[in-house]
């Protein structure tokens, strides 16, 4: 125990005193943890609430369900309330019906005597519980597995192709000198600044002209030549010594082999970072697939869950629950690969 304590309270500097910066750092980090994770936890908790509870204020931290009691003489279980009686005492009563501002209540232990209570004097008895319908209904009505398959297909092929094409281009741009290289680089970096929503209409007409509308490849192809990827990989490849390439050339390796057998394996950390980002990006893509895909059997999860957004109403309970479901892979990536990602970016990001 004490070792844990000393581990946790280990700080920089010498001697045993806490410097004010240590305190400030810990406050910052712990505050940051609450701020970073809190909202996601809130989303999960909200996704377990039924529609009525979602709209409720004050919101509860945890999802609750109304307690009911089976009362003799009534076919269905009745909702339970804690009622403040006129003498100030409180009793748990079941509600038979409500008429306007008054409720007909009954004591489950004494089902014959009905009591009239003002509704302001009663509060529902609730227990922590889950509105599992939020999760089960979409799985029944919503082509979850079709959407999942499409999302996986898009994510997988987009990532593979991104890695391939970007690394090849980055190789050419980092390890060869040729006329126009700087121009190509400038164009690539320049387009970093063009957000998709801005060229939506022209891009749509291009994709439509190429015949990729309503096709998963129409979602995949426009995303794979990412300037970010080329840039990231090129920066990393610049750090690979040219000696290795020359050694390989002396070793009878063709240029393709140099790329394939020397450069690619050595770029692995940067490729991993790009792969993870690509997976997250493609998995989360919303606007573009929404524009390209209009057939249900081609929908990705993000588009699928948006079908709960109607013209006049949004079915938040379903959207929230499906959002949580679509977050699972991302969270898994995070949990299992976070060390890889964080150190990878640190290593590959900027050199």
């Amino acid at each position: 125990m004490s070792t844990i304590l000393t581990f946790l309270t280990r700080r920089r500097g010498h001697g045993g005193r806490w410097h004010w910066t240590d305190v400030a750092s810990w406050v910052w980090l712990i505050g940051g943890t609450v701020l970073m994770f809190g909202p996601a936890l809130w989303l999960i908790s909200s996704s377990l609430k039924d529609p009525a509870q979602l709209a409720e204020f004050p919101p509860t931290l945890l999802p609750y369900v109304q307690q009911t009691a089976a009362v003799e003489g009534h076919d269905t279980p009745l909702p339970l309330f804690t009622v403040t009686m006129e003498d100030g005492s409180t009793r748990d009563l079941a509600q038979v019906r409500r008429i306007g501002a008054n409720a007909q209540m009954v004591d489950p232990g004494d089902p014959d005597a009905q009591i009239s209570v003002r509704i302001a004097d009663r509060t529902p008895v609730r227990d922590v519980g889950i509105a599992h319908g939020n999760y089960t209904d979409p799985f029944l009505h919503f082509d979850f597995f079709v959407y999942l398959r499409n999302s996986v297909f898009v994510t997988f092929f987009a990532t593979i192709l991104t890695l391939f094409t970007n690394s090849m281009a980055a190789f050419a741009l980092s390890k060869y000198r040729f006329r126009g290289r700087d121009a190509v680089l400038l164009v690539i970096v320049g387009t970093l600044m063009v957000p998709l929503s801005v060229i939506l209409v022209p891009l749509y007409s291009v994709v439509s002209r190429v015949g990729l509308l309503d096709s998963l490849w129409g979602v995949i192809l426009p995303t794979i030549a990412t300037p970010t990827g080329v840039f990231l990989l090129r920066q990393y490849m610049l750090t690979i010594p040219d000696d290795l390439l020359e050694a390989a050339r002396m070793d009878h390796a063709s240029e393709w082999q140099i790329y394939w057998r020397i450069i690619l394996p050595l770029t692995a950390p940067a490729l991993a970072v790009l792969a993870i980002f690509s997976v997250v990006w493609r998995w989360n893509d919303f606007l573009w697939p929404l524009v390209v895909l209009s057939r249900r059997e081609l929908y990705t999860l993000q588009i699928g869950l948006n079908t709960y957004a109607g013209e006049l109403n949004v079915q938040w309970h379903y959207i929230l629950s499906m959002t949580v479901v679509t977050m699972i892979p991302v969270v898994l990536v995070f949990v299992f690969l976070q060390r890889f990602i964080t150190t990878g970016i640190a290593g590959a990001g900027v050199k």
């Binding site: 281009a169 050419a172 060229i199 209409v201 291009v206 969270v331 964080t342 970016i345 640190a346």
Partner: protein
């Protein structure tokens, strides 16, 4: 003999009880790797002779083309051509969506956008919403980039200290980067709305409920805060990488010189962090100007038009509203792109000059 045993013990000891597990992993690892890599190996066997042939025929120059073509072809079709088309769109008028049905109007859209009596007063402009969006975007970028860079810097400095759980906290701050912007906007709207979590907390402390997203100041601050929340982890990591690359002995030397910590930061850390800081600034700037999804979901541009940013304006005018005007949207995006390019070039130029100055 005894020596050898001692050696074996010494190497085995730290592995402790999971030695068998590790041995299994050592044996399984390569096997797994071979299985995973098998398709790649097969692909390479198939591609290699073709590539050798190309290299023999076309030489190294040909190979450069082979490496560049897939990326550049896709890039050309799906990025460059749309950008060019967008440029063409900006010279056409009407509500039609497809280019071939649209009428050529020359510079009319640009005239309409830049028709202003006073550029600082959007209401005096022909296209007042465009200028409101421009103003909002300008202030957003100004505040958001400064906030994000400072917060990322503080976090990176703290994470660079030698303290327990560094890896964990590094991950914590990175987590939101993985969420989709739509989800980010949704979560925070859920928290900031009238019946949201924040008001629950506020009322628990006895304060009045505030309708955060109805207040110009709070809504704007929320847009800044939320986008900082969502992206700071990425920038923190870049800065952290830079911090860790600064040789430790510089700090030791500074300590020997009894340099006060603030001075160490300004005179050692910051200058040596220069390249990373430049990358962070450029990327943050680009992202700031492009702010869309999370802010759109969060505030919808309100209250009034207080958080309506450039990209939202373009998206709504050009695509989302029932009354679309693609030509106007295209012209607006071209103007925005021009500003971005100028800003980035200025930024790069400045940092390059600073770098040169330092080298001298």
């Amino acid at each position: 003999m005894e020596n050898e045993i001692a050696q074996v013990k010494a190497t085995a000891a730290p592995e402790g009880s999971d030695r068998r597990l590790r041995r299994l992993r050592d044996r399984l690892g390569p096997l797994l790797r071979q299985v995973v890599l098998l398709p790649l190996v097969l692909i390479s066997r198939a591609i290699d002779p073709v590539m050798r042939l190309i290299q023999a025929k076309a030489g190294t120059g040909g190979m450069i083309a082979v490496f560049l073509i897939p990326n550049m072809a896709i890039f050309g079709i799906f990025v460059i051509i749309p950008i060019i088309l967008n440029f063409v769109y900006s010279f056409t008028g009407g509500a039609e969506i497809l280019l071939d049905q649209r009428a050529w109007v020359g510079g009319q859209q640009y005239e309409r956008l830049t028709d202003c009596q006073n550029y600082l007063d959007p209401l005096s402009c022909r296209e007042d919403l465009f200028w409101r969006a421009a103003h909002n975007t300008f202030f957003f970028v100004l505040f958001q980039v400064s906030l994000m860079v400072s917060v990322s810097m503080i976090t990176a400095l703290i994470l660079n200290r030698n303290m327990a759980g560094r890896g964990f906290f590094r991950a914590v701050f990175f987590f939101p980067v993985l969420l989709s912007p739509v989800v980010v906007g949704l979560i925070w709207r859920w928290i900031l709305q009238r019946e949201g979590l924040l008001n629950l907390i506020v009322t628990n402390f006895g304060a009045e409920r505030v309708v955060w997203l109805n207040d110009r100041f709070y809504a704007f601050a929320a847009a800044i805060g939320v986008s900082t929340w969502a992206h700071m982890g990425f920038f923190t990591l870049i800065l952290l990488a830079g911090l860790q690359a600064i040789p430790k002995d510089l700090y030791e030397a500074a300590e020997m010189d009894a340099t006060p910590p603030a001075r160490v930061f300004w005179r050692i850390t910051l200058p040596l962090l220069g390249p990373n800081l430049a990358v962070v600034l450029v990327l943050a700037l680009i992202r700031g100007v492009q702010i869309f999804d999370e802010a759109y979901v969060l505030t919808g541009g309100g209250p009034g038009t207080a958080t309506m940013f450039m990209t939202q304006y373009i998206y709504e005018v050009g695509f989302a509203s029932l009354l679309r005007n693609p030509g106007l949207a295209a012209a607006a995006s071209i103007l925005m792109g021009a500003v971005l390019v100028v800003l980035t070039l200025m930024q790069l130029g400045l940092s390059r000059r600073a770098e040169k100055a330092r080298e001298r």
